[in-house]
């Protein structure tokens, strides 16, 4: 039931804060925050439950199931395991951060803004917990519309273009997934006589027919657009750049992660054979993403665009890791997902705060800001160092594990991917240099980060340090789920290798 309450509280929080906003904007902001804090408490309970039942063989900590559309065998089925638990923590924490970050930025129609944020968060929570494919698709699409509004109403100059591009790209992927969902439903129904959308039942009877590669591609396409994988990433720089701060934080920190989660949760376990057939291509595309994103990040003048391209680079590691099928690499991917959520989310908050103060994102008009805003500079340096993979911080652990894991599978790709470390140092330091060092370009006086912003940043930095120094709990939490995913997948890869 905790999962259901998680959804209800988030949704209700959104609706109530919209209603309240007609009276008071401040109350509406606090209400959303309180709703998310209540979510945190629920998550804490869930974690305790998980920790106490850790040794049991039961995969799902929580499982609720009600009939929804019995005519089609659709159920309202939510479940969480150790993997979803991590994603849920990330979701709620980043939700709070993004609301805190837009406290001053959003003055116009604040109620609708918070409603949209909460609706997106509810959609994301749903995606991370849905165990019925129809329900999953339902939540998958639920995140889109409010995000579209978020970008197109509160975004920057080119917002309408970016919003429509974002929507069409993700919807295109989503529709192919819908075809696959319909296909898997019919095929499963024909072979077993049971027409259902239940993930657990699909899991017990994975498809291995030659047709399954097409169904797998439908799912893969949807998740690859979100992730984003390189040839279909072009929505990302636009959407991230034009979105308001909260939108960018949620996009980078959460929406991209739904793609990774989808591949882990659906593509690999449901289509182990088909997925292993495209594994090499996916890994190559992942490596291309790492290098391409990093190089383009260095070429940007727009700060927000720079940060956006770094996401492509970091998520390339995730794609590489997932399809390597190596346990170390998979664990590394989880750490990257979490650490990237915090570090990039933090960077977007900083950049948003910068834009709020100096009304530009052009790096050529910045410079020397450390002198006037030392706190901001310090925090940015920390986040940039995290992003370039400084040992002791979260991203390093993740990327190092990924490289180590993939090296055992494919040394060449691993070696090429490690160039990404060098490139990320270049763009991260370039960002710090252009914005904070050098002479003060215009003699501006800007206010430094305030108490609210610093509080958020302290939490972000603490999370990154924790991930860097003591990632054990996270690794343990995700391990059983990852083990299940990996064992099937790896046996398929071995079969293919044997056949060759």
């Amino acid at each position: 039931m905790i999962l259901l309450f998680l959804l209800i509280i988030t949704l209700a929080g959104g609706i109530i804060s919209w209603i309240v906003s007609f009276r008071s904007k401040v109350a509406c902001r606090w209400l959303s925050t309180f709703a998310l804090i209540a979510d945190l408490v629920l998550l804490f309970l869930l974690t305790i439950k998980y920790a106490s039942a850790y040794s049991s063989t039961e995969q799902w900590i929580e499982l609720v199931k009600w009939n929804w559309i019995p005519q089609l065998g659709i159920a309202f089925e939510l479940g969480a395991d150790g993997l979803s638990l991590l994603f849920l923590w990330l979701t709620v924490l980043l939700g709070i951060f993004s609301i805190a970050a837009s406290w001053d930025e959003i003055q116009e129609r604040a109620g609708f803004f918070h409603f949209n944020i909460m609706l997106i968060l509810a959609g994301i929570i749903g995606v991370f917990t849905a165990l019925d494919l129809f329900l999953f698709y339902f939540f998958w699409e639920l995140m889109l519309v409010p995000m579209y509004f978020l970008i197109s109403i509160w975004g920057h100059e080119n917002r309408v273009y970016a919003a429509i591009k974002f929507f069409i790209f993700t919807q295109a992927g989503g529709l192919f997934m819908l075809i696959s969902i319909a296909g898997i439903y019919i095929i499963h129904g024909r072979t077993t006589g049971q027409y259902t959308f239940d993930y657990i039942q699909f899991l017990n009877a994975p498809l291995t027919s030659s047709f399954s590669i097409w169904l797998m591609l439908g799912f893969f396409l949807a998740f690859a657009v979100k992730l984003p994988m390189v040839p279909i990433h072009t929505w990302l720089p636009d959407a991230h750049t034009e979105a308001p701060t909260a939108g960018s934080v949620i996009l980078a920190g959460l929406l991209l992660k739904t793609g990774a989660y989808g591949i882990l949760r659906f593509v690999l376990p449901l289509f182990p054979k088909a997925a292993s057939e495209i594994a090499l291509i996916a890994m190559i595309l992942g490596v291309i993403g790492i290098l391409y994103g990093a190089i383009l990040a260095f070429a940007q003048r727009d700060v927000k665009r720079l940060v956006a391209y770094t996401s492509i680079s970091h998520l390339g590691f995730v794609l590489l890791a997932i399809f390597s099928g190596n346990m170390l690499a998979l664990q590394g991917a989880i750490i990257i997902i979490l650490a990237h959520g915090f570090s990039t989310g933090g960077l977007f908050i900083i950049v948003g705060a910068l834009q709020e103060r100096i009304h530009t994102r052009d790096m050529n008009q910045m410079g020397g800001l450390w002198a006037v805003a030392p706190r901001m500079g310090g925090v940015s340096l920390f986040l940039a160092l995290a992003s370039l993979g400084l040992p002791g911080l979260g991203n390093f652990v993740g990327e190092f594990l990924v490289l180590m894991g993939t090296y055992q599978v494919n040394p060449v790709l691993s070696a090429i991917a490690s160039i990404g470390f060098i490139l990320s140092s270049i763009y991260s330091l370039w960002f710090i240099y252009k914005v904070f060092h050098g002479p003060l370009v215009q003699n501006r006086q800007i206010t430094d980060l305030g108490l609210r912003e610093m509080t958020v940043m302290v939490f972000v930095m603490a999370a990154i340090v924790w991930l860097g120094i003591y990632p054990g709990p996270m690794l343990d939490s995700a391990k059983p789920a990852l083990k299940g995913i990996q064992s099937k997948f790896i046996s398929m890869i071995e079969k293919i290798n044997d056949a060759q």
């Binding site: 929804w68 005519q71 089609l72 889109l144 197109s152 929507f167 069409i168």
Partner: protein, 484 residues
């Protein structure tokens, strides 16, 4: 004709009586509100009788009409649509100089025609119903006679409908020459072999009938009238053409296809796949280029007919359920979208230029959100009814392995998304300068409580079906047995 035949016919008879009574009342006392009340009453009583007979056995009345659950269900939603249009019309007509009352009479006649069409399993009754519908639509389209556009739309519809009907009649004649009867069940295609031979007469006849139907449904390449008529007709009439008139003909097409086993004849099946795909692409691609909301919706309705054909082609049980649920959701959304246009329309002309919608969200946030909801439903986004319809099309086609149609529907869905989002983006974009183009100072010149009520109901249905379609699916699965 026995008494029980009469009782089966009762819903249609009540409609006829209603029409006569309203006409008689006109001669004594012309009153807009009274006319509305009387027409509403007619629809309500008629629908009440329909619900009673839904639970009864299906009944063939003469060889022309059949009252099975399928016909009754469709009649109910068609009358519902006509009722909604009447409510919307009230605010639209109130305060105009035109004669208002006759509008409702024609609306009732048109609904009668729709009712006959969905209950017919004979070409003659289909023809009768179609003519009743078309003739009243000629009048309704040009009812306001406010400008050249209206007259043009009326004439265009008249000419094309006449052409389509003559195709239909010639086809019926061919079919009769071959079969000796015009019953649908007599034209069984499963007996035909691909080598044509003697059956070419039947084939030619059926193709002509389908051309006639294609005109009414605005399937490409018979779609040319749609945008002009949609734009020229008054907004409530457009809503009626887009929903009830097309829906009735589509329901007939479905019955025709199922009862003649037309899909067993491979060449026709392939022809229909091509038609469906071409219709979707044409509708959506042309919609992108429009700058008039009514024209965008017209082209989008062409595309939706393509989706419906895709659902139809799945065949069997799945096709019936998918077409019905899709039509139901399409009705709700289209009525809603045109309802918004109706409410916003001024007395001089309809509120249909895209740039007039700029910044509607700031002037009237509720209306903008509701309109966005309807547009998202047309695009098939979850939480709205449109998604359930689209989902059924996907599942139906997956079940019969028509992957090419599925992919075409998917590609078209995101082409379609572009122009729906364009409208939504316009609603929420800022107004650059103080509004000088507004031709009417009042924001909702055609608002009435009746129209508002309809919109609230439609929004409720939109979300209800989108979230919990189970009750409706239960009813719909009850009509499947009427056809197979």
């Amino acid at each position: 004709m026995t008494l029980s035949d009469l009782s089966a016919l009762l819903p249609l008879i009540i409609l006829v009586f209603g029409i006569v009574i309203i006409m008689l009342v006109q001669t004594v006392w012309r009153n807009h509100k009274l006319t509305l009340i009387l027409s509403v009453l007619t629809f309500v009583i008629s629908t009440a009788f329909l619900t009673v007979s839904f639970f009864a056995e299906s009944k063939q009345v003469t060889s022309l009409l059949i009252f099975d659950n399928y016909a009754i269900f469709y009649m109910a939603i068609l009358f519902g649509a006509a009722l909604a249009v009447c409510f919307l019309t009230y605010g639209f007509m109130e305060g105009r100089n035109n004669i208002k009352e006759e509008f409702y009479i024609f609306m009732l006649i048109a609904a009668l025609g729709c009712g006959v069409i969905v209950a017919s399993n004979h070409l003659i009754s289909f023809f009768l119903g179609l003519e009743v519908l078309s003739v009243s639509l000629y009048v309704l389209i040009a009812y306001l006679r406010a400008g050249p556009m209206d007259i043009e739309a009326g004439i265009k519809y008249l000419v094309l409908a006449a052409v389509s009907v003559s195709f239909l009649l010639l086809g019926a004649a061919f079919v009769y020459a071959y079969c000796g009867t015009m019953k649908f069940s007599a034209m069984n295609f499963s007996a035909l072999t691909p080598s044509i031979g003697k059956s070419s007469l039947l084939l030619a006849g059926v193709i002509m009938i389908i051309i006639g139907i294609g005109f009414k449904l605005a399937v490409v390449p018979f779609h040319l009238w749609t945008p002009d008529v949609y734009q020229g007709a008054p907004a409530p009439v457009t809503a009626f053409i887009a929903t009830a008139s097309k829906g009735a003909v589509f329901a007939l097409l479905l019955r025709y296809f199922i009862s003649t086993n037309i899909f067993d004849y491979r060449p026709l099946f392939i022809l229909f796949i091509v038609l469906s795909i071409v219709t979707m692409f044409f509708g959506n691609l042309l919609a992108i280029m429009q700058n008039n909301v009514k024209r965008i919706l017209a082209y989008s309705s062409i595309a939706h007919m393509g989706y419906l054909l895709a659902a139809l082609l799945a065949g069997g049980r799945w096709a019936i359920i998918a077409v019905t649920i899709y039509l139901l959701t399409y009705f709700i959304t289209t009525l809603g979208a045109f309802g918004i246009i109706t409410i916003l329309s001024g007395k001089e002309r309809d509120f249909d230029r895209l740039d007039e919608y700029r910044g509607l969200a700031f002037r009237h946030p509720v209306l903008a959100i509701v309109f966005s909801g309807f547009l998202l439903s047309l695009a098939g986004i979850p939480l709205t009814a449109g998604f359930i319809g689209k989902f059924y099309i996907f599942t139906a086609n997956a079940s019969s392995g028509l992957w090419i149609l599925l992919i075409a529907v998917a590609i078209n869905s995101f082409i379609g998304l572009y122009y729906y989002l364009r409208i939504i983006a316009t609603l929420y974009s800022h107004i650059q300068e103080p509004q000088t183009v507004s031709f009417e100072s009042r924001l909702m010149p055609s608002f009435s409580y009746a129209g508002g009520l309809v919109l609230i109901l439609l929004v409720f249905l939109l979300v209800f079906i989108g979230v919990y379609p189970s009750p409706f699916l239960k009813i719909i699965s009850g009509i499947v047995s009427s056809l197979i």
